[in-house]
């Protein structure tokens, strides 16, 4: 499914993604209303379900606040494509089921507003506007297991059930 790219630079921190003044709620839809506010005040108004965030290096650096990927997911973003991700943001996204892909070439080959199509399982990013296709880095097998389980909670539930009882 095609969506538009919202393009950002390097080191987009979690204070930009969701400012601390909104951390007094865990409500996903409320967080989404303020997503990217201090960096791109129009984002929440502009974003449509199925759109993509395309960003540079170290996306999601800073705080461990899971409110950041929650806000992005609740905004309707189908996938974040970046050159690299900050580590806590990366694991939070995997854990809550926000799709992310590392694909520097796609980032360089995409401008704000371009139409993209992302095939998650294959890790392919197609820029419809520019008629170019890019291959993202594959996920390590362990992380894929969590993704395929539907996130860390279903993954943990299954592990605990398999173990029968906790040690």
């Amino acid at each position: 499914m095609a969506g538009r790219a919202h393009k950002y630079g390097d080191h987009i921190d979690t204070d930009i993604i969701i400012a601390a003044r909104y951390l007094v709620t865990a409500d996903a839809d409320e967080l989404a209303q303020h997503c990217m506010e201090d960096g791109d005040a129009e984002f929440a108004k502009r974003v449509r379900p199925g759109d993509y965030i395309v960003a540079g290096e170290n996306f999601g650096c800073g705080s461990s606040r899971e409110h950041a990927p929650i806000a992005i997911k609740a905004s309707g973003i189908a996938c974040v494509v970046a050159k690299s991700f900050a580590r806590i943001f990366c694991r939070n996204s995997i854990n809550i089921g926000l799709p992310i892909l590392i694909c520097p070439e796609a980032v360089d080959g995409t401008a704000m507003g371009d139409e993209l199509e992302v095939a998650l399982a294959a890790g392919r990013v197609r820029n419809v506007t520019r008629d170019r296709e890019f291959q993202a880095q594959p996920f390590p097998a362990f992380m894929l297991e969590i993704v395929e389980a539907g996130g860390l909670i279903p993954f943990t539930r299954a592990r605990l059930q398999k173990a029968g009882a906790r040690e």
């Binding site: 204070d15 709620t25 201090d38 290096e57 606040r65 900050a86 943990t156 605990l160």
Partner: protein, 420 residues
């Protein structure tokens, strides 16, 4: 087969393995898990969807009312209540309420709840602070916290390690803050992405525990998974009479493999200031001299240690905070507050015209107790100067150690103690 770094050794021990290598994934047993009033509410919601009745160990889960306390509004009060009720329901032993609570990362080491050799995870990015004690500690998210509260385990990728060899004698007033700002300035905010930062060298022995906490605290500001110092005589002295569990003293093998080794002569490092809006914008204080400021914040998990307050008080003693500046001093724990009270430091701050607040993360993240308006500039001893970090998106934060912060409060502009 090469030896292991300190981080690899600790992770291997907690994964029940002889050895681990960078890049592999492990499910590590953790000694302690941490949550706070911002991250725990989401974790509690997720925990309850796992379908277990009890937490893995009620004496290994630390829940600290730290960020929006004393509660700043109804919503933050509701979040604190969610954590409080969970702590009661599960009879969590390690729960700190307002009055005894404060900045999570100052409380846990102080109480001896994190010890050398531990593997600790916390839903707070500055959980990496405890690496100063020779343990592995790292920040995770709320869903991670939920899973860890249920299982006592956490999935981790074994990081590559960068080794920082510190040598030389520090100049006057130069603290752990100046060293870490200098290092982040050198390698960048993603210079240690996914990696471990291991500190060693002759200058490390000279670093006090509070300097090491400050340096480990800001590992995340270089993108690192953790920062770690092997325990030495100072660590042992710190743990004596404090450690609640038996420490395990480990060190890196002599033939451990490092991705990169940085050699740094700390005698070349002067007082540092990180300009807006990234911690990597570190420059010598001289380049910031004369920048007019509106606020100074001394506190946080980075630089609220009693030694930091002593440095600030020494500079403020007999002087006055500049008329155009609001100076805010927040001791991060009750014990540090009491110690500062006993030593007369709080008297010095109040006499100088500074506001002294109760233990909280407060203004560090623009939560409350010192939020900036548009166009305002602050010097803060905290760890982040992102856009909007301490308030309005058009405000600006300059990061520095306590000496520069206190001197700037008096001067009304960014200054070093020698300028006064």
């Amino acid at each position: 087969m090469p030896g292991m770094t300190l981080t690899e050794k600790i992770l291997a021990a907690h994964a029940g393995r002889e050895r681990v290598v960078p890049g592999e994934f492990v499910l590590a047993k953790v000694d302690l898990v941490l949550g706070n009033d911002v991250t725990a509410p989401i974790a509690i919601r997720e925990f309850e969807s796992i379908g277990v009745d009890t937490v893995f160990a009620k004496d290994r889960i630390a829940l600290v009312q730290s960020h929006y306390v004393p509660n700043k509004d109804i919503k933050s009060a509701e979040q604190a209540k969610v954590m409080r009720e969970f702590a009661r329901r599960h009879q969590i032993d390690l729960f700190w309420e307002v009055g005894r609570a404060g900045v999570d990362h100052a409380i846990l080491p102080q109480e001896g709840l994190v010890v050398p050799g531990d593997a600790v995870v916390g839903a707070d990015s500055h959980t990496c602070t405890y690496g100063a004690l020779g343990c592995f500690s790292t920040g995770i998210g709320s869903t991670d916290l939920a899973a860890a509260m249920a299982t006592g385990e956490c999935w981790l990728m074994v990081p590559k390690t960068l080794r920082f060899v510190l040598t030389g004698q520090r100049r006057p007033y130069v603290s752990g803050k100046d060293i870490i700002l200098y290092i982040i300035g050198m390698i960048g905010v993603d210079g240690a992405l996914y990696r471990s930062m291991e500190y060693t060298g002759s200058a490390v022995a000279d670093l006090e525990m509070h300097d090491r906490f400050t340096i480990a605290n800001m590992a995340i500001e270089a993108g690192a998974k953790n920062g770690v110092f092997a325990a030495d005589a100072k660590t042992r002295a710190y743990c004596d009479g404090r450690a609640k569990r038996e420490p395990v003293y480990l060190e890196a093998d002599a033939d451990a493999e490092y991705e990169k080794v940085y050699e740094i002569d700390v005698s070349q490092i002067g007082l540092q200031v990180a300009f807006p809006h990234l911690p990597e914008n570190a420059r010598p204080v001289g380049e910031a001299r004369g920048i007019r400021i509106d606020q100074v914040f001394i506190g946080s998990c980075t630089n609220g240690w009693i030694e930091d307050l002593r440095v600030a008080a020494e500079i403020l003693r007999g002087r006055q905070v500049h008329g155009d500046v609001r100076a805010i001093v927040i001791p991060p724990t009750r014990e540090i507050y009491q110690q500062a009270l006993r030593e007369g430091l709080l008297e010095v701050f109040v006499e100088a015209g500074a506001a002294v607040g109760p233990p909280t993360c407060g203004p560090c993240l623009g939560g409350h107790m010192g939020v900036l308006a548009a166009g305002e500039k602050a010097v803060a001893t905290s760890n982040r100067n992102f856009v909007g970090r301490m308030g309005h998106k058009d405000s600006a934060v300059y990061l520095a150690g306590p000496a520069v912060a206190a001197a700037s409060a008096v001067a009304g502009e960014i200054a070093s103690p020698e300028d006064l």
